[in-house]
Subunit: 511 residues, 2 copies
């Protein structure tokens, strides 16, 4: 498996202090570790490859049963032709704020032969020995090594929060605790296939889903192994483009410097969009960029700094950021060239002018930017640079009529979201987690990647905060996906703290 | 098969007038067409894939036997571990100029299943009917349709001149004609694998090969189906380059606009080398470019102009040349991007920053430029643009020490050659061919592509002129390679004219 070096070797392990109401839950957990792992393994044994609706329905049914066993009022929210959302509700005793917890039970496709052991849906219990992950027996009882891991598709991404939430409720029950807020659970089965029915489900069940905020339990914790609250995500939008050259490949000697060269044309197109330092040159693009606030910049700079270690690991003699930190750069929009394909290189190269050049781009967006506006600006920029734009295969007549023809295929795109650190739900979450940890939890203004958070904000009008529990080295989306036990235990502590103490820290008035 | 449309439909077919001494040869040929085709077919039935030394030796032996049957003093010039050169000599009666005729008997590799009939070494005799090539029987005697073609690997490229030369000698003999110049024949078996032993062979046998000029019988005639004399070739040099990014692919959201993007870096590198109109921007590059003479420009402009028809066929709304003609542009150097490979595009695109970017370039050179000098100038240009250059895989330390690292792998390169239209051998060739055709043969100052002509000039110090006979649509290097009978007949006429009349037109003093 691909091991990710510890970038923060000097940072203390994230074993939490379990202050306040979480102490009894921790005690309960320490005597039920094997049972929790067994429940997790049983869920991981259900294949959950996204789009495999029949398998996913078996997951949904199993999760619903686990929830009902905890007294959660559970129902399956059916989608038109996909797997259902498993919805559950657990009310506080009196009037209270309402929090929805999101996780997803589907996983990325697998190539079983690439996995250690060859069976992504036979959970393996392993410890690292001499740099290798070795199978170890799961004992019948007692404490487990917190550095042990469970390997299976869906372990880190994203069944771990589901099991941790249920275990937290078990621990609370055994300690006689009840939630101090109304809890709703929304476990989706289509996250890995672009949540195609999510918006419709949110609209259909808006009343059922009424809340004061969402916590999005997905993604990994900080690479320093510390827990983090992530207040925002960058949006994203894909763009595939094809630049046209001659209708058949031409001998570069006989036609070179007469026939247009698609490799040069696509290079000019790309460098017109952004420079080597990442600055986006599209006219008007910066107008829509909401600059990070001083508070957000300060928060980004206060985070652990992986920059030097990352540069060493990645063999980078420099970055696009020059002296700026990675965390600061993620507050800005980005334009990433995912790929370029022109002719052939090395042994396969022919002395030819290729017929076309393809490039794949993904934009990363910040709040206020919209996919629609990006499309407009980029297309206007290309037209101003002499390009004729088509959104389908160019016709012969289009190619004959224009010197530079490009076909653009835009993805649907997701907008960015960024919740204010001063918002009630963020304030409450910080309070509960700071109390649990005995120190401030990492407050991340935004992650660099994209989650479909904008759909929630847009459809339901409520803030959504990302709160991950999985280890950063969980190999999500890859072979040998895993969850580290300590991350499960920390997640259980955290959910118990949130369920019992969020109410206490919720501001009485909106700042 | 890929049919190439007739770009010069209004130009009369190139059936020649057979003036002067060629008339008897033409008469002889018209009664021996079937025999000539049979001799050609027997030679084409010998597999000749380049680098297949055992097969190539069978070709060499067969060609030597054909030559000896014509009274040519023949020997095999052995190479160290490749196929031999078939060398032959036929002396004029008195003191005379000496001409060497070059052709090659090896061919490109074949994928038999792609060929019509599936057997590239079973010569097929075909006519075009309703846009398709249909097998027709070869009669036992009589005239053949001059539009019929023989399909086999090596037919157009480059066994046709060998058979045409021998048939011309047969025709001359039957008419009682003898060569008025000393003839030497140099038939190589490694042209399609970069003539790796050619330079050594020329050096070793320099005395044997002493001459007043070479005629390089390879490549096709002009696309208008008219015969041409090509006085030069562009040189060429390949460059493979790798631009380094992070040592592992990175999530474009989490690391985008911090980690360097190889797709943008390679685009900047390429656009720094040349612009979209083909102008090479490397500092000092133009200093070594010998501008075309007024006479060369005039000759280029006097050629048939395929430009408009080509633009229509290739669906080009414009060219890099703006208003300049293709033939003019070939007098200039070129920089062609053969290919670019970065990450993935379309369905395979991942939201990732790729680990590297590869590009493949070929330069086309004009006289005075040398591959060595191009290397120096390009490397100086890259260094001035902030690149650290390595010629092997970059070490970790090199990558950590430099923000922009590129690995360059240069091909050996071939220099350009361009013989003056006023040189004795060109003057004589024009004279003999103009007489044969009854009008001036096309005088092409240079072809755009590259042939290893520089090796001959450099090693032997004699001028080399390209004189092709194959049809332009012979599918050379591709499936369904073929030779059109009329091109064979024209070639026989032309060789007879050259062998008998070159002497007459050779200037008595060097201009």
């Amino acid at each position: 498996m691909r091991t990710i070096p510890a970038l923060f070797a000097l940072v203390a392990p994230a074993t939490m202090l379990a202050q306040g109401t979480s102490k009894p839950v921790r005690d309960w957990r320490s005597t039920h570790e094997v049972a929790i792992v067994r429940e997790m393994n049983a869920l991981l044994a259900l294949p959950n490859v996204t789009r495999d609706t029949a398998s996913l329905r078996r997951n949904a049914t199993a999760i619903a049963a686990l929830m009902q066993r905890r007294g959660i009022a559970t129902q399956l929210l059916e989608t038109k032709d996909g797997p259902p959302v498993v919805f559950g509700e657990l009310k506080a005793k009196g009037p209270a704020k309402t929090l929805v917890l999101y996780a997803h039970y589907d996983g990325q496709p697998v190539i079983a032969t690439e996995w250690q052991g060859g069976a992504p849906f036979t959970p393996a219990f392993r410890m690292q020995r001499d740099g290798k992950w070795v199978d170890i027996p799961l004992p019948n009882s007692g404490r487990l090594d917190p550095e042990a891991r469970i390997f299976a598709r869906g372990s880190g991404d994203d069944k771990a929060p589901i099991i941790a939430i249920l275990a937290a409720l078990d621990g609370m029950k055994s300690a006689g605790q009840t939630p101090s807020i109304n809890l709703k659970f929304f476990f989706e089965g289509e996250e890995e296939s672009e949540s195609v029915h999510l918006e419709q489900t949110l609209k259909t069940h808006a009343a059922l889903l009424a809340s004061d905020g969402w916590i999005f339990c997905d993604s990994p914790v900080h690479a320093s192994r510390q827990m983090q609250v992530v207040l925002g995500v960058r949006g994203s939008m894909g763009l595939e483009l094809t630049v046209y050259g001659p209708s058949r490949a031409l001998h570069s000697g006989h036609y070179g410097n007469w026939a247009p060269n698609p490799g040069i044309l696509v290079s000019e197109l790309l460098t017109s969009l952004r420079d080597a330092d990442g600055k986006i040159l599209v006219k008007g693009f910066q107008d829509d960029v909401l600059p990070p606030t001083a508070k957000e910049l300060a928060a980004a700079r206060a985070l652990p700094k992986p920059d030097a270690a990352l540069r060493q690991e990645l063999l980078l003699g420099g970055t696009e950021a020059n002296d700026a930190l990675l965390a600061e750069r993620l507050l800005l929009p980005g334009l990433n060239v995912r790929g370029i394909r022109v002719g052939n290189v090395e042994g396969a190269a022919a002395n030819a002018i290729a017929t076309d050049a393809k490039a794949s781009i993904d934009f990363r967006l910040v709040p206020k930017q919209t996919p629609e506006r990006i499309r407009q600006l980029v297309e206007a920029h290309l037209v101003a640079n002499g390009w004729f734009i088509t959104h389908a295969a160019a016709t012969d007549q289009e190619r004959l009529s224009h010197k530079k023809v490009v076909r653009l295929t835009w993805g649907a795109g997701d907008a960015a979201t960024r919740v204010s650190a001063d918002s009630p739900v963020a304030t409450a979450l910080f309070g509960a987690m700071d109390e649990l940890l005995g120190k401030p939890i990492l407050r991340v203004p935004t992650m660099g990647g994209t989650l479909p958070t904008a759909i929630f904000e847009h459809t339901l009008g409520v803030p959504l905060i990302v709160f991950p529990i999985a280890n950063h080295d969980d190999n999500q989306h890859a072979k040998d996906e895993n969850i580290r036990l300590q991350n499960m235990w920390d997640g259980i502590d955290a959910f118990a703290a949130i369920f019992t103490r969020l109410d206490h820290f919720w501001p009485s008035t909106t700042p």
